[in-house]
Amino acid sequence: MSSKADCIFKALNIVSWIIFVGVCIEAGGFIFNTFFTLLLNPVGAIRFWTEVNLSELYYYNQRDYVTVTSLMIIVAVMRALMFYFIVKIFHEKKLNLSQPFNETVRRFILRIAYLGLGIGLFSFWGAKYSEGLVNKGVKIPDLQYLRLGGADVWLFMGITLLIIAQIFKKGIELQNENDLTV
């Protein structure tokens, strides 16, 4: 591996770790605050997360509150899982630039693609659900603050990665053929 590529990989590894820690804290915070509000103290809904006040939703209907927070948790956990896989592939040093087309990388791309699609679908569901609640007159924070925004981007990313995984499949076949050419 060239020193430039090595440097880029190191930088990406550090950035991935920072994002991974961030999304883990976020997912943990969502889970903790949801259960804290439901089981211990409803005041937790006021300062659910930074700039997220879900008190009105909580007092409007607890079932809606659970649905919205569950969708937020699912999306946050999937994001954390995605960055876990990214950190893992850097940690295990499976990215071999001299032989880039291998089954491990293809499986990694497929996982990220499915997670991207999952995040997109749940974000879309959350966005539509919040829209329905707003139409009923419930005041809830912006989708960006609920971390449910950008569903279309996630879906686009997922589909693009699925296509790349298919191209990778052909790449693996070609590389194997090349390796077995004497």
Binding site: N176, E177, L180, T181, V182
Partner: protein
């Protein structure tokens, strides 16, 4: 695959070991082993040429087509 590699037969006829052939044709042992065991997907003309030269044979002596009955 229907293409059979008879490299081992030719090597036995010429009384040549895999190590010796590897040195003479300038191919790695692993690559020659892939060829000998029939795992190879393709063979370059240059490789075939040098093997034929060293073993003093024709490409047909090394490669053979045999239909596989299903």
């Amino acid at each position: 695959m229907s293409i059979i590699v008879n490299l081992d037969v030719m090597m036995a006829k010429r009384k040549m070991s895999l190590n010796e052939l590897s040195e003479k044709v300038d191919l790695t042992l692993s690559n020659l082993s892939i060829l000998k065991t029939g795992k190879a997907k393709a063979i370059r003309f240059t490789t075939l040429e040098v093997i034929c030269k060293v073993l003093n044979c024709q490409p047909g002596d090394i490669l053979e087509y045999r239909e596989i009955e299903k």
